[in-house]
């Protein structure tokens, strides 16, 4: 049941939406295509579905080349961002649609549709019309409608994008549980990193029609392949550092970059990437390997406290994430002086500066 999109290129006029992209969704896995708007992820999904056709490249299902087959013949469920429910049909008829066009017998249709409606706890809504449902309910119907004809592959195009946060979280969890139970090969498109990480077995990070990195959520977050991936996945601070005697220096402060990761540039400069949770704040100068700054803003909501510090010597605004306990023990407030010290940092080849 694995899907392979190989060397796919797609142009819209002069705009290159996909540039020689290869993506694989192994059998039974849930793969997320993650990237900003315009990265080509939706185009790739539609090409896999057969709703668009590539200018070059192939789509393979198992070992069959299905590139030239129409969407109708591919038997892949597709869930649209804005649901695309049939507005003039009842919920029951919506879910039954895929079965009716396949001429299933009436009793089998009835039992399958009822089973699916029960699965999403909407079995009492069968006679209603889509306009009478809430956004979350509509999306659940869209999901089971795609699942009804027992497809081998499910494709989801930003399925939760149009919903509010709480409903989104519920549906995400539902999707993950469903996948754990039924193991249907699934590919879904999202621009929300948190969503991709929560739901997917494997993440494909895309940008400007190219694949930047493929891996499990942990792999991609801990070991970003380049600056784009690091910056896209969570907030990141970028420092322009000097390379001197194999050390990476920002003024007098050494940034602890991993051994062997230093790339000597012609003008001795490098961009260094530090995640907010890889910086620490101290009330005093400590061992000296720190930058002095002023607290500009504190966002205490959530599991981390986000502090924005202005490092005046370099005119840099730095984002630091602290645990609530650490923040409490520091007892710093807006306008006060703090010292920023780096715990670890990353450096990439010059090509990938953003």
């Amino acid at each position: 049941m694995s899907i392979l999109a190989k060397n796919v290129t797609k142009r819209f006029g002069s705009f290159v939406a996909l540039d020689n992209v290869t993506v694989e969704a192994p059998s039974g896995e849930l793969v997320a295509l993650l990237g900003p708007s315009g990265s080509g992820k939706t185009t790739l999904l539609r090409i896999i579905a057969g709703l668009e056709f590539p200018d070059a490249g192939t789509v393979q299902y198992r070992d069959d080349d299905i590139t030239d087959r129409s969407a109708r013949e591919r038997n892949m469920g597709f869930v649209f961002q804005h649901y695309a429910l049939f507005r003039h049909m009842t919920v029951f008829e919506n879910v039954a649609f895929g079965l009716r066009v396949r001429k299933w017998p009436e009793d089998k249709i009835r039992s399958r549709v009822t089973e699916l409606l029960e699965l999403v706890r909407l079995d009492t809504m069968g006679h209603r019309y889509p306009a009478q449902l809430s956004g979350g309910q509509r999306q659940r119907i869209a999901l089971v409608r795609a699942l009804a004809p027992e497809p081998k592959v499910i494709l989801l195009d930003e399925p939760f994008g149009a919903l509010d946060a709480k409903v989104r979280a519920e549906l995400r969890a539902w999707l993950r549980r469903f996948h754990d139970q039924f193991h249907v090969t699934s590919i879904f498109v999202t621009h929300d990193q948190e969503e991709a990480f929560e739901v997917a077995d494997r993440v494909v990070v895309m940008n400007h029609g190219k694949v930047e990195q493929v891996g499990t959520p942990v792999e991609v977050f801990e070991h970003p392949a380049n600056a784009f991936v690091m910056d896209f996945l969570g907030n990141v601070n970028v420092f322009q550092a000097q390379l001197k005697d194999g050390r990476v220096l920002l003024g007098d402060v050494e940034l602890p970059v991993r051994q062997g990761a230093v790339v000597v540039n012609s003008n001795g400069k490098a961009d260094v990437y530090v995640r907010p949770h890889e910086l620490d704040l101290e009330a005093g100068a400590g061992d000296g390997n720190c930058l002095r700054g002023k607290v500009m803003h504190v966002n205490p909501a959530g599991a981390v406290v986000k502090v924005r510090v202005m490092v005046e010597d370099f005119g840099l605004m730095v984002n630091v994430d602290l645990t609530p306990d650490r923040y409490k023990s520091l007892a710093v407030r807006v306008g006060e002086s703090v010292f920023v010290s780096p715990k670890s940092a990353k450096i990439f080849e010059p090509d990938y500066t953003i």
Binding site: A49, F86, R102, P149
Partner: protein, 292 residues
């Protein structure tokens, strides 16, 4: 705590009463003179000689009966042709970008800009004895001009825009997503069209059909030229009205005219009803889009 001062109510941002009354009166007057009086007078004239004469005029004269039959055939056939063409063209234009798309849209609008008499002339140039197809037609013993076929052709041509122009914005507003969803669920082209597209566009289609039919029934200029005005054979109702009027048979002319006017009023009523249904549907589409 200071004392409360009453603020005088802000002057309403509205024209003074006398302007409103004057403009309304002018509008009503124009409407009465240009529309209501003529319509009423048609019926007055039609019944000038009494009820019996009225029915006699309509049903007693074989030429008049044939005119009514002809209109009852020509108009629906023209509408049917244009429904087929209009739906197909609207679907192609709304869903695809192809070379010549803009040209097609312009061509659809062409009948609007051409005088119906010129349309008639065009058919004469094509199908007349000295026309482009003349020799070929004569060789095969086929006659087009001065037969009901010509009436149908001319009427169809003149009413081409009505269905198509109505369907294009409707199809664009609905969007392709539902159709793509149906495709991904395994429906073939015909199933998508019948089960998904048609139910969504039905009010726009009905509206287009109403307009097309109204125009087809009232067509005069083009059929005047291509039909040859042969009483009892190629006179539609409007042509028969003209013929009777020219023959100084006013009551008969007005009798037929009253039927046409009545059909027009029925069309107006239906049109208003369908417009209401269309607006409800469009509103629910907009609401759905906003909500999602």
């Amino acid at each position: 705590m200071g004392s409360l001062t009453t603020v005088p109510r802000a002057a309403k941002a509205e024209d003074p009463a006398w302007i409103r009354w004057t403009l309304t009166a002018v509008a009503v007057l124009l409407l009465t003179v240009l529309v209501i009086v003529p319509v009423v007078s048609v019926f007055v004239e039609a019944f000038a000689d009494g009820w019996t004469a009225y029915w006699d005029n309509l049903l007693g004269d074989p030429d008049t009966r044939s005119a009514m039959l002809l209109t009852a055939v020509v108009a629906p056939v023209a509408v049917a042709c244009n429904v087929a063409f209009g739906v197909a063209a609207a679907w192609a234009i709304a869903r695809f970008h192809f070379r010549g798309r803009t040209t097609l849209v312009t061509v659809i609008d062409l009948p609007f800009s051409v005088s119906p008499v010129v349309v008639g002339l065009m058919f004469v140039l094509l199908f007349g004895m000295q026309g482009f197809f003349g020799p070929w037609l004569r060789a095969h013993g086929v006659q087009i001009l001065f037969t009901p076929i010509a009436l149908i052709l001319a009427t169809t041509f003149v009413t081409v825009p009505f269905v198509a122009r109505e369907m294009i914005p409707v199809m664009e507003a609905i969007g392709p997503d539902e159709e793509l969803a149906a495709l991904s669920l395994g429906a073939n082209g015909w199933q998508i069209f019948v089960r998904v597209t048609l139910p969504n566009v039905k009010w726009g289609l009905i509206y287009g059909v109403l307009l097309c039919n109204a125009r087809a029934m009232g067509e005069f200029g083009a059929v005047y030229v291509v039909g040859g005005r042969i009483a009892g054979e190629t006179n539609t109702m409007p042509l028969q009205v003209d013929m009777l009027f020219q023959g100084f048979n006013s009551p008969a002319a007005f009798a037929i005219a009253s039927v046409l006017t009545l059909l027009g009023l029925v069309t107006l009523a239906l049109k208003t009803w369908v417009e209401g249904r269309k607006k409800d549907l469009t509103q629910s589409h907009e609401d759905a889009k906003v909500e999602s």
